[in-house]
């Protein structure tokens, strides 16, 4: 069944048991993003050293799991490392199933490779990552150029 490509076990696990969920103090930057087509929302908070990445929101399995995976993957990393991972994830999502993900860089996030074949769901997966980038910028840390995300 083609759904399996989308709803990988790892994704469903993160969805049912999200890591690091909830908004916490202290933080230096916060961003609230909305997916205008479906109404999903997320708020992400980060201190400038990324010693925590906290978030809360309403959304589908893909956006919620993506936030959980992102939390795990980016927490405590340097801005430079984060920029690399962020870029790799965005590239994977925009690859329409043609990009081979690198597990060393993306960890659990490679499970999202299948999402890139569902144009309508790419935005779901990217929602937390875009909010994170904005939150980081507001905390005064640049984690790379903003890619173009088409609605």
């Amino acid at each position: 069944m083609m759904l399996d490509a989308l709803y990988q076990e790892i994704i469903l696990d993160h969805y049912k048991h999200p890591h690091g969920r909830g908004l916490r103090d202290p933080y230096d930057g916060e961003a609230h993003h909305v997916n205008p087509t479906c109404g999903d929302e997320i708020t992400v908070r980060v201190p400038s050293d990324f010693s925590d990445i906290s978030y809360d929101g309403l959304g589908c399995s893909i956006s919620q799991a993506s936030a959980s995976v992102m939390h795990e993957l980016l927490i405590g990393k340097s801005a430079g490392e984060i920029a690399g991972i962020h870029e790799a994830f965005v590239e994977l999502m925009q690859g329409r199933g043609q990009v081979e993900p690198d597990e060393d860089v993306l960890g659990d996030a490679i499970a999202f490779a299948g999402v890139s074949k569902f144009p309508a769901r790419v935005k779901c997966a990217l929602l937390p990552w875009m909010a994170f980038k904005d939150a980081a910028a507001r905390a005064g840390v640049d984690v790379g150029a903003s890619p173009e995300v088409k609605a």
Binding site: L3, Y7, T37, G39, D40, E41, L58, C60, F118
Partner: protein
């Protein structure tokens, strides 16, 4: 005549399609309907044989196109029992029609601070944002009816909400999320009492039930071609002629003028006054063919078929564990649009699993965020029916929902 759904379905080429290896089960007609070959054929014929610009040429092609375009207007007028075809303004969609009223009627009424406009929480964004923008431009105040727990307009504060300050009332005839068909007689009567103009957003009603503008007793209605078997790119504003005749234009340009000098312009009579530029000609002709198709079946029969399907669907969904329906739970006073939640599963995920089974439903806020907020959810899953919908398709939906619960169990 019995309503022969199999014969009807044969007219819709897309219904032969498979989606992800399953026969297409199209349950998203409230979003946009499918189009019968009669409509596509009328447009093809126009484009291949009679294409010319309208109202501008004496040549044969231009005359043929103009005649066909005006015949479409007359068909649409008759379909909603308008007084004359001149009451029909072709727009690009419902949204433009509603914006036209907000601009032109708003200007005609010379709205100012202290004036009030009344809508409801049940509206589509296209019947909210134009009024918010109008209030911003003029300083008028926006007020609204709430929704009762069972998904009906809450008229409890009618007398206070519609008062001497009310200049314009704009309400949805049939909700695109809850399926509610609003009985607007009390609100219209009260609006008349205070001298407010009344607009109805009939985007969901004109495609599905007999609508008689003179019977409704309102001033304007808006609807849209692509939801009633017609093409995209065409919508309709109906307005009472005396009112249209008094309103200033909205868009300016070719074909809406009487005479133009650099120093100033005078405007044509309605409907031309409100149709600036080359109109959606082939699209109007397609809409005319859609009206013919609906007339052939009979709108009362179409509505009855959808009532039957809705009754069947409400039962089928009630039988799926964990499904909660938003809006009226019985077919009375509602149309064939059923929104629901599946416990613990986000609508996006519901829609995705159903799509994998060929069942096409809409998920999201349905351009009706305030309605979602009213029911405490960010999004809903919606199945919506039309004249081609079968009980087998409802069964496929119910089976699909079992699968949803399996994947996210």
């Amino acid at each position: 005549m019995t309503f022969d759904v199999a014969r009807i379905r044969a007219d819709f080429p897309i219904l032969q399609r498979e989606i992800n290896g399953h026969p297409l089960v199209y349950l998203d007609s409230a979003n946009t309907s499918q189009k019968p070959r009669q409509v596509l054929e009328a447009m093809r014929l126009h484009n291949e044989r009679h294409n010319g610009n309208v109202s501008r040429s004496v040549h044969t092609l231009g005359t043929e196109a103009t005649t066909a375009y005006e015949e479409a207007r007359a068909k649409v007028a008759a379909f909603i029992n308008a007084g004359t075809p001149d009451e029909i303004v072709f727009t690009k969609n419902s949204t433009e029609a509603l914006n036209l009223v907000a601009h032109s009627a708003g200007q005609y009424l010379a709205l100012k601070p202290g004036d009030e406009i009344v809508i409801s929480e049940m509206e589509h964004h296209s019947n909210i944002v134009p009024w918010q923008l109008l209030c911003e431009r003029t300083g008028a105040t926006l007020r609204w009816f709430g929704i009762t727990d069972d998904g009906r307009l809450d008229e409890s504060s009618l007398a206070e909400l519609i008062n001497e300050r009310t200049r314009l009332v704009s309400l949805v005839h049939m909700s695109n999320t809850l399926g509610t068909i609003n009985d607007l007689s009390r609100i219209v009567a009260r609006s008349r009492e205070v001298g407010a103009l009344v607009t109805l957003d009939c985007s969901q009603s004109v495609p599905h039930l007999p609508v008689d503008v003179r019977g409704l007793g309102v001033d304007f209605i808006a609807f849209t071609g692509h939801k009633m078997l017609g093409p995209t790119g065409i919508g309709v504003l109906w307005g009472r002629f005396e009112l249209l005749a008094k309103m200033p234009p909205f868009l300016g340009g070719g074909s809406m003028i009487e005479t133009v000098t650099m120093a100033g312009t005078t405007y044509a009579a309605p409907p031309a006054r409100f149709e600036a530029g080359t109109p959606p000609i082939a699209e109007a002709i397609g809409l005319g063919a859609a009206v013919d198709y609906l007339n052939e079946l009979g709108m009362a029969e179409v509505h009855q078929h959808e009532q039957d399907i809705t009754a069947y669907a409400l039962k089928a969904l009630a039988d799926v564990p964990g499904v909660r329906i938003f809006g009226p739970a019985t077919p009375e006073g509602r149309g064939g649009t059923v929104s629901f939640a599946v416990d613990g599963v986000h609508p996006h995920d519901v829609g995705q699993v159903l799509d994998a089974l060929g069942v096409e439903v809409r998920v999201g806020h349905h351009c009706a965020k305030p309605t979602c907020v009213r029911f405490g959810v960010p999004a809903m899953t919606r199945a919506s029916f039309y004249l081609y919908t079968t009980t087998d398709e409802i069964d496929a939906l119910a089976r699909g929902l079992d699968q949803v619960r399996k994947v996210f169990g």
